[in-house]
């Protein structure tokens, strides 16, 4: 009998949503358990990192790695699982692009520590204590991981074979990928390394709303208006990210009258999400004057970085905001 292929699932700096997304494939999880020998999955079954360390290099067939890299432990795990895995998949937005927690690159470690431990209104810390990687307690030395200045994507840490988009990935896509991997391990051709395993159209292509030629004079913030339920949200003046965002969700947010916030990341061929969004927005503005277009965007979008790089600051051309002081920029 041929041994079952080995599968590992791991989380680094993540919220657990990717794990819940995997569980959301419902009863199909039993098929996954039947098709693979799951060697690591901390949330659901026994984890065996010691055994992973002892395994021969490349002995895990597929590792789905979610979460970004923000401290020394996560960096070690990324390196370990890269070494042990034939195929390493950056699973979900954090590993792929940095996601919302990647907005922490707009601040640095010192700013975060200063607020969280000293200045927060609920904190009571007259001595100004902050956590230390190494602390001499009366009984002995205690260690916690080193918190880095910068959130990094998985492929800024180790080489990645494939990417799965989404915050979190949609259950249907997860199941399709699992089936493709099983087929691939059975000899079917796998996509070229570096492929984002998702659709190559945009959320707009999946959206049922009507797009007209209507041009807008100003952008509005979501709290300022109730859009109608039939027309394109962008054309109604809301900053909907559908034009730049990879399809795969079925345009779920526009269905409940909320604009797309870009959680599936940039569509194929889009190098920089923010740059693509700027172009998209310019295309619906009722003006040909670059200065007026700029004014309309600036007036209606008070936080361009948080709006255009909500899910992708670490991966973006910006990478991060400027660090105060002598941030080491890990």
């Amino acid at each position: 009998m041929t041994a079952k292929p080995k599968l590992a699932l791991y989380w680094a700096a993540s919220c657990g949503g990717c794990e819940i997304a995997v569980l959301a494939i419902d009863e199909k999880i039993l098929e996954v358990a039947a098709a693979f020998d799951i060697v690591l999955w901390p949330v659901a079954i026994d984890a065996k990192v010691h055994d992973i360390e002892k395994m021969a290099d490349q002995s895990i067939d597929v590792c789905l790695f979610n979460g970004s890299i923000r401290n020394s432990e996560q960096e070690y795990m990324a390196q370990l699982l890269r070494r042990k895995s034939k195929i390493l998949v950056a699973f979900g937005s954090c590993a792929h692009e940095g996601c919302i927690p990647g907005l922490a690159n707009l601040a640095g470690r010192e700013a975060i520590f200063d607020y969280v431990y000293r200045r927060s209104p609920s904190v009571d810390n007259p001595q100004g204590i902050v956590p230390q990687p190494e602390f001499e307690a009366p009984e002995g030395t205690l260690h916690i991981p080193v918190f880095y200045d910068t959130v990094k994507t998985l492929d800024q840490t180790v080489t990645v074979d494939y990417y799965v988009p989404g915050c979190p990935p949609e259950a249907e896509n997860i199941y399709a990928i699992v089936k493709a991997v099983v087929a691939g391990l059975g000899g079917a051709p796998l996509p070229p390394a570096g492929t984002v395993l998702g659709k190559e159209t945009t959320v707009c292509d999946e959206c049922e709303r009507t797009r007209n030629e209507k041009k807008i004079k100003a952008f509005k913030r979501t709290w300022e208006m109730i859009p109608n339920e039939t027309d394109c949200l962008l054309e109604q003046g809301l900053v909907c990210c559908g034009l730049a965002t990879r399809a795969g969700c079925g345009a779920l947010c526009p269905k409940v009258n909320s604009p797309c916030i870009g959680c599936h990341g940039a569509n194929a061929g889009v190098e920089d999400f923010g740059a693509r969004m700027m172009t998209s927005l310019a295309s619906v503005i009722d003006s040909n004057d670059p200065a007026e277009i700029r004014r309309i965007i600036q007036a209606g979008i008070p936080d361009p970085v948080g709006t255009f790089y909500r899910f992708s600051l670490p991966r973006s051309l910006l990478r991060r905001g400027a660090l105060a002081g002598n941030g080491r920029g890990h």
Binding site: L23, A24, P42, D124, I129, A137, G140, C263
Partner: protein, 488 residues
């Protein structure tokens, strides 16, 4: 001094870590429960438009994004001084009740339940959701999967996405429901009530009829006489979505009842240099360290503490279950931490009944579910009960609604001190003369699971099978003995 390190395996998973120190006689001198991660949402959300907060803070925790989404939406109502129309409030509470029922199901069957259903002494390899399915059979497993599936399906229908919704706004929600959707929500809600009743009966049959389990629940190892916190309505009945926060003392007497906006008068957070997570405590009682009792400001915010803090539950079947709970366990308040699993099922029933109540409310399909704010935003606090504890979001903005300050006190964080105390107490009870018993590992692990700790809220890890390795070291650091848990 001898040290026992209970690490996530190889100290590399960032899930929590315990160092236990033994004195010369081999008795426990101290225990440190460390949380190894921080993400800094409170800092990087500054500068963002406030209306993004429901979507940004969803990503604090992918297990309970709905809780952050809801606390954020309520903070935005307060920030913009806008009253949500009745249908908007009801829709929010309806979605939240569906979420609560779904989340409590996940915990009981997939994360906490395996200890009881498969058994605390079962091999680690079987103590997981697959082992539960094996034990209870596919019929029951199908009920569990259906409950989770239905919940996720309805959350997606109402709020866009089953994980990470995109729905809440200052003054209401982005879209309501139509009659066809309402009917489906009601139908699945009635199934959820049946499922909750079935789960309570399963608890009676599997746990309460087993003396060893009952002894374990009522035993001293996880018994902590702390204050109890929970949100209540005007009649002191538990409410997950809205109300006042009530805290009862270790004897069950009301200590304080406060509006969420006044949280800074009641709560403060203590910092230790050996962990990234802060320790909230009751300010007026004070931080006395990791100890229980009336003179220590440590409190619990869990399903158990919510039942302790309330006078009753607002739905009929859940009220019966509430009365049975306290009658069986010897009256209020209950301090047996493992009883939290039972309390969770009582809450599951309440959530399911409330779900149907709201789904059959004549106003629920009203198109008047949102009010556009007109006031200038400045400051707002929003609080809900997350499944894992009272959750508070506090924002300040400039006049454009751009965030200038953010403070969050999240569900599990409330329970950091009690969880740390449970670890220490288990160690004290089980380690004598330097000998570590095998039971220690499972006892510590079961203590965690009762709280359903979701350090995703402060860090990133989930509850469940926390892999551990205990190393007993001699005075010179040499490893004397290695015990493992959840390792093959």
């Amino acid at each position: 001094m001898q040290r026992i390190s209970i690490d996530p395996i190889t100290r590399l998973e960032g899930h929590g870590k315990i160092d236990i120190f033994l004195n010369e006689e081999g008795e426990v001198a101290n225990a440190y429960f460390q949380i190894p991660e921080l993400r800094g949402f409170e800092v990087f959300c500054v500068g963002r438009p406030a209306e993004d907060m429901p979507n940004l803070t969803d990503r604090i925790c992918g297990v309970c994004p709905e809780a952050h989404h809801m606390a954020a939406s309520k903070a935005l109502d307060a920030l913009w001084h806008v009253e949500v129309p009745p249908a908007g409030k009801k829709l929010r509470e309806l979605m939240y009740s569906i979420f609560f029922a779904t989340d409590h199901t996940t915990h009981f069957y997939a994360l906490g339940g395996p200890d009881f259903i498969v058994g605390p002494d079962a091999p680690a390899a079987e103590r997981n959701i697959l082992g539960v399915i094996e034990k209870v059979g596919m019929d029951v497993a199908s009920k569990v999967l259906k409950m989770r599936h239905d919940g996720h399906y309805l959350i997606q229908m109402m709020a866009a996405r089953r994980v990470q919704p995109n729905w809440g706004l200052p003054g209401g929600v982005s879209r309501g429901i139509n009659e066809e959707q309402r009917k489906e929500i009601e139908k699945l809600g009635r199934d959820a009530i049946e499922f909750a009743l079935f789960s309570l009966q399963a608890f009676r049959d599997i746990v309460l009829k087993n003396k060893a389990y009952v002894d374990l629940i009522l035993g001293d190892i996880f018994n902590h006489h702390t204050y109890s916190m929970g949100m209540v309505d005007a009649n002191n009945r538990t409410n997950f979505y809205d109300g006042m926060i009530r805290v009862v003392d270790p004897d069950g007497k009301e200590f304080v009842k406060y509006a969420p906006k006044d949280y800074l008068n009641v709560l403060a957070e203590h910092v230790e240099p050996w962990t990234y997570l802060k320790f909230p405590y009751l300010k007026k009682v004070g931080w006395k360290g990791l100890v229980d009792g009336k003179d220590s400001g440590v409190y619990k915010a869990t399903p158990l503490s919510r039942l302790n803090a309330a006078d009753s539950l607002a739905t009929p079947k859940a009220q019966e279950a509430y009365e049975e709970f306290f009658k069986t366990l010897g009256g209020k308040p209950v301090h047996a931490t493992l009883a939290t699993h039972w309390a969770r099922l009582v809450e599951l029933l309440y959530a399911a009944e409330r779900w149907v109540e709201l789904a059959t409310d004549s106003e629920i399909t009203s198109p008047n579910y949102r009010t556009i704010p007109t006031a200038v935003p400045d400051e707002g606090v929003g609080t809900v009960e997350a499944p894992r504890g009272t959750l508070t979001h506090h924002y300040k903005t400039d006049s454009r609604g751009i965030l200038t300050e953010v403070n969050l006190i999240v569900g599990t964080t409330n329970n950091y001190a009690p969880i740390a105390m449970s670890c220490k107490k288990a160690a004290e009870k089980l380690i004598h003369k330097g000998k570590v018993t095998e039971g220690l590992l499972n006892m510590v692990e079961m203590g965690f699971r009762a709280y359903d700790p979701c350090f995703g809220c402060a860090t990133h890890s989930l509850p469940g099978q926390m892999p551990m390795e205990v190393r007993l070291r001699g005075p010179n650091g040499e490893v004397l003995e290695v015990l493992t848990k959840n390792l093959a």
